[in-house]
């Protein structure tokens, strides 16, 4: 019944029921303002209850006020079958085998009438139907692990994904691609970098900033780049593969622990912070930008460690922060706190007593910087020294989200502060680097003649 009048409520629902006009009916609606022909579409649940949506024969939709409707004549029915044409993905024994694990996101998507937004849908056949170029790189299999928006990813999905990766490696796959929503892709990339250790094969996370129901979507090209990387590259690490420039040009392979989404909507939103990306990837080739990455191996040895403590928080410090923020974490039995402090890693004095109390209660407290670029350095000012006295541990140049993920993982393994500290401060997957190269921080300032010259010269 709910499907028959999908999304309609109140006045619009009663009007449709009154005339027995269900969703997908091909109708002629008579109103006090005029007559309309078209197909009744489902209505988004968030839209109001006063209008009936019809698709007119020319393809446009309009909303008709239910209160003006005097008659609805049903002429027929045309239900949408939104189906990407499926074609069997071709198999070629000489090509590497790649597994695409789906968690959600807009890499492959279709319209969802419930929310009016797009929902994911994919299978090898659908993917081949819409991006046939994929067959030139590999034999592709897919498995839909989850279908969640990236903001709804959590420990269950992280653990499940890590385990799925372990299974695939064991089965002998040559590369793994993980489809993921972009909002929290860098969180997942970080935790997978810790949970999956010494992978013999590339693990490539990919998404899209423009959903694949748009002609200029970045989904197809991102997918090609990520599949190319999984199939051909010798980089056996957890990586994020997304657009380098905003143009349909090349992708960048970012190390899973140093990458961050830096723009709410740009295609080229992912950036390696405090370092340079591992490589550039196009449909034709993978060009390493550095050599210190872990190489692909023939063996199938991998360590999957899915330890995870959920009672960890990240506190984004702001001036005038009150101690009750910390107190509430203590009182709610949190086991770890990552602070994103100002400058070199600072918070105000009024927090000190609370931090001391947290430390005494055995809560692990780590300091990162909200500037994102640069190291925590708590010796430079008294504030920093004072805080270390209180038990706050500087987390070098770990990004705040990465430190958060690592602390969840570390506390999942041990309650011993010393052991946790050892895990936290020993780099495992590039989350802490020994040095920041001078080209690791490049936010060019627009408006300067030399920068404008650069922009004009190279494809953006």
């Amino acid at each position: 019944m709910a499907e028959d009048y999908k999304g309609y409520r109140g006045k619009a629902l009663s009007t449709l029921k009154n005339f027995g006009a269900q969703v997908w009916s091909d109708v002629e609606i008579e109103t006090t303002k005029g007559n309309y022909k078209g197909i009744i579409l489902p209505r988004s649940e968030t839209a109001d209850q006063f209008h009936i949506v019809i698709k007119m024969p020319i393809g446009y939709n309009i909303g008709v006020a239910a209160e003006n409707v005097t008659d609805i004549k049903i002429r027929g029915r045309k239900e949408a079958h939104y189906k990407i044409p499926e074609k069997d993905f071709p198999r070629d024994p000489s090509k590497p085998n790649v597994k695409l694990l789906g968690t959600g996101g807009t890499i492959a998507s279709r319209l969802d009438y419930r929310t009016g937004a797009v929902i994911p849908a994919f299978s090898p056949g659908e993917l081949y139907g819409s991006v046939p170029e994929l067959a030139t790189f590999c034999n592709l299999d897919t498995e839909k692990l989850y279908g969640v928006f990236s903001e709804n990813m959590g420990p269950e999905q992280w653990v499940g994904t890590a385990e799925a990766i372990g299974r695939e490696i064991e089965k002998g796959i040559d590369g793994i691609v993980i489809g993921h929503g972009t909002d929290t892709m860098h969180h997942t990339a970080a935790i997978l970098s810790f949970m999956v250790q010494d992978s013999p094969i590339p693990i490539v996370m990919v998404g899209s900033q423009r959903s694949s129901d748009r002609p200029s979507s970045d989904a197809a090209l991102n997918l090609m780049h990520s599949v190319k990387t999984a199939a051909d590259s010798d980089i056996a690490e957890v990586m994020v593969c997304m657009f380098g420039p905003t143009s349909d040009y090349y992708g960048l392979l970012h190390r899973g622990t140093r990458v961050r989404k830096m723009h709410s909507s740009y295609r080229s939103t992912f950036r390696t912070i405090g370092d340079i990306p591992i490589a550039k990837v196009s449909r034709e080739e993978i060009t390493p930008l550095r050599q210190d990455y872990k190489r692909r191996r023939k063996d199938r040895n991998v360590t999957i460690n899915t330890a995870f403590e959920e009672k960890v928080s990240i506190v984004y410090y702001y001036p005038n922060m009150m101690p009750d923020i910390i107190d509430s974490l203590i009182d709610n039995d949190y086991k770890g706190i990552v602070i994103a402090g100002t400058g070199l890693g600072h918070v105000n004095k009024p927090l000190y007593p609370s931090l001391k109390r947290a430390h005494e209660k055995g809560i692990a407290i780590y300091m990162t910087v909200q500037t994102l670029w640069g190291f925590v350095q708590m010796y430079v000012y008294d504030t920093g020294r004072d805080m270390m006295e209180l038990g706050v541990i500087p987390a070098a140049n770990m990004l705040p989200e990465v430190a958060y993920m690592k602390l969840c993982w570390a506390l999942g393994q041990s309650n011993d502060p010393q052991k946790v500290k050892e895990i936290m401060l020993t780099p495992i997957a590039g989350e802490i680097t020994e040095r920041e190269p001078s080209n690791g921080y490049l936010i060019y300032q627009g408006g300067l003649p030399e920068v404008e010259e650069f922009i004009a010269k190279y494809v953006k």
Binding site: K33, G34, Y36, L41, S44, T46, A47, D48, F50, H51, V53, K55, M56, P57, I58, G59, Y60, N61, I62, G63, V64, A65, N68, K78, A80, H81, Y82, K83, I84, R110, L111, G116, A117, V118, S130, Q209, R210, S211, S212, D213, R214, P215, S216, S217, A220, L221, P245, T246, S247, D248, Y249, S264, S265, Y266, R267, E452, I455, A456, V459, K460
Partner: protein
């Protein structure tokens, strides 16, 4: 099929157009006069080809809301173009680049659109739904145009009938194409995102001249709001044409209304001649079921050819391919338009879809021009098993492009057995037209998931109605009745002073002719004198007429007051000279007489007339000429 041969343009009669079943409708695009663009806050109407950056995109077809692919989209995908956008940071932001989601629709633009809808007697939709209309040619970086229907079922009176207004939509304007060579197409983005409305008429026009007339009427109706842009490129017409048995063909982007008659005539001719071609094919026993064609790589066979394009292709290591169209002998020379033949239909497809953009891109065995030698043609014919009743079409380029070209040549030739293929066509300078793309259908529509539906309330409509100008067919009738000069009627209807005119007559009781002359002809005179008449405001004119009404200004004085107001930016009553009393006037006249007596006059008999002119120069603003004349001529 009716036995009718097209006559030259000038000789075609209404009866002739009736015979061929000529039908035409319009899609009129009109930019709206807003400060900002439709879905972002970039300034609208600033044109510049200067750019600071370039971005590159490719377009892929996607499914429509009902789960189908659109034919045009698939065609554009076949072309595999690199699309380059030139970005000027002063006129384009990350929205137009498709790197930021849309902002809510520009309400000013929507208000203007709704007013236009009301002027066309349309019913306004209750709830506006923004759709994405796919354009894979790259003319919009997103690959779709955001567009929404806001009005339906309008009508306007024309001759003794009505023209239907089928629908009106509000949409964002597209990029301007800079070049399209091979696999690279370049666009400049300054126009992108500007608000415009598209008004679609029914296919109610019966001759090419009617089409132009209706276009003019529709243009005047929206101009009467004074909230639409004027000038080159601000209004563009798509013209739909069909003949009996033909197909609705859309001629895109006609920039000037006076080009419409010839364009529609030529399109009707093309369709008629394609239908005659079909008849000829059927006579030869070639139908879509019996149609036969084959193709072969003939690179080796023509490797010694001297014909330059083929010679160059061979030297560059390109492929030469030959299509055999069975039973088509002579038909590539079938005339479609004046000086245009069926071979052009094929060459156009090869150019657009296979991206072989250097012309000539094909040669064929029906041609008598200088290309291959007849011995070479014979040689090819033998090797591809052709006969004298076949036509051979030769194309050259890289492997991929020639493969595509061969497919398209066969597709287009086969379509000739069916009739007139659905296409959009571009208007060419000489009045003929060329293939642009396959006509898109309803399958390219997709709901815009980025923006919510917008309710259009009755309060909003009622408020907009209050500020509506009179419908031009009503005001024009009134103007005629008032007897204002004929050459001011149309201009007044679309002038920014059209509401003021009504006010002047009803409130200030100004003479209609005076008001029309002042509001329409005076600005034109001032323009000729290089005054910026856009600085004349409604308020300014209202003040000037008040001063006239109060006897502070003469008719001639109005003109001078307008000049001064433009220079000062406002009308000040202090700008006016003090009123001249009868006594003062006599003094001025005596002074003028003295001045004149100091001059030597060529024609002493005209002394009084000269004195009148001389005096008027001093008192033009404040004293009516008649009074001065009486004083001078009645004096002695």
């Amino acid at each position: 099929m009716k036995d009718f041969l097209f006559k030259p343009f000038e000789e075609m009669t209404e009866k002739d157009y009736e015979t061929i079943g000529f039908k035409s409708g319009l899609e009129i695009h009109q930019q709206l006069l807003t400060d900002k663009k439709l879905f972002c806050r970039c300034p609208a109407g600033r044109y510049s080809t200067k750019y600071h950056a370039e971005i590159l995109r490719h377009m892929r077809p996607t499914l429509s809301e009902l789960g189908e692919y659109d034919g045009t989209a698939l065609m554009e995908f076949k072309t595999k173009k690199d699309i380059i956008y030139r970005i000027n940071r002063d006129t384009v932001c990350t929205y137009e680049m498709d790197d930021t989601p849309p902002f809510l629709i520009n309400d000013d633009a929507l208000d203007i659109a709704l007013q236009c809808g009301l002027l066309f007697d349309c019913s306004i939709v209750d709830e506006l739904h923004i759709a994405r209309k796919q354009y894979l040619d790259g003319s919009i970086p997103t690959g779709f145009q955001r567009t929404a229907i806001f009005a339906l079922d309008g009508k306007i009176p024309y001759k003794n009938r009505t023209i239907d207004i089928v629908q009106m939509s509000i949409e964002e304007d597209s990029c301007r194409e800079v070049s399209d060579q091979g696999h690279t197409r370049v666009y400049v983005t300054d126009r992108l995102g500007m608000p415009l409305i598209e008004t679609v008429t029914g296919p109610n026009m019966r001759t090419p001249f009617e089409v132009a007339e209706v276009a003019e009427i529709c243009a005047n109706i929206v101009r009467s709001t004074n909230k639409v842009r004027r000038g080159t490129g601000s209004a563009r017409e798509d013209v739909n044409v069909s003949v009996e048995g033909g197909t609705r063909i859309e001629i895109k982007g006609v920039p000037k209304i006076n080009r419409i008659p010839l364009l529609t005539y030529y399109e009707a001719m093309r369709q008629w001649n394609l239908l005659r071609l079909r008849e000829e094919l059927h006579k030869r026993g070639i139908t879509k079921d019996t149609f036969q064609a084959s193709s072969e790589d003939i690179t080796k066979i023509v490797k010694k050819a001297h014909y330059l394009p083929v010679r160059n292709a061979i030297e560059q290591g390109l492929k030469i391919k030959c299509v055999v169209l069975k039973g088509f002998a002579g038909l590539l020379n079938w005339q479609t338009q004046t000086d245009t033949y069926f071979s052009k239909e094929i060459s156009d497809r090869v150019r657009v879809i296979a991206c072989l953009t250097t012309i000539p891109n094909i040669i064929h065995s029906d041609s008598r021009g200088d290309n291959l030698l007849s011995a070479e043609w014979q040689n090819i014919k033998r090797s591809v098993n052709g006969t004298d009743s076949d036509t051979l079409v030769i194309v050259w380029g890289n492997e991929q492009d020639t493969d595509m070209a061969v497919k398209e040549i066969i597709i287009r030739a086969k379509e000739a057995t069916i009739g007139v293929p659905s296409e959009t066509r571009q208007a060419l300078r000489d009045g003929t037209n060329g293939f642009e793309r396959i006509l898109p259908g309803a399958d390219r529509m997709y709901p815009d998931t980025d923006l919510p539906p917008t309710r259009i309330t009755d309060e909003r409509i009622n408020k907009l109605k209050e500020d509506l100008p009179e419908k031009i067919w009503i005001s024009n009738e009134w103007y005629i009745k008032l007897g204002i000069p004929e050459d001011t009627i149309n201009d007044l209807a679309i002038s920014k002073f059209n509401k003021l005119f009504k006010f002047l007559l009803s409130e200030l009781k100004i003479d209609p002719t005076l008001a029309a002359v002042v509001l329409i002809q005076f600005p034109k005179r001032l323009e000729k004198m290089k005054f910026d008449t856009s600085l004349i405001t409604v308020e300014m004119m209202k003040e000037i007429f008040r001063a006239y009404k109060d006897g502070l200004l003469t008719r001639d004085g109005i003109f001078i007051a307008m000049q001064k107001s433009i220079t000062k930016g406002k009308f000040y009553s202090e700008l006016l000279p003090k009123p001249v009393t009868s006594k003062e006037l006599e003094v001025i006249i005596s002074k003028s007489e003295e001045e004149i007596s100091a001059m030597r006059l060529f024609d002493p008999d005209k002394r009084k007339e000269i004195l009148l002119g001389h005096t008027m120069n001093k008192v033009r603003m404040t004293v009516e000429g008649q009074i001065v004349k009486e004083k001078i001529f009645n004096k002695s």
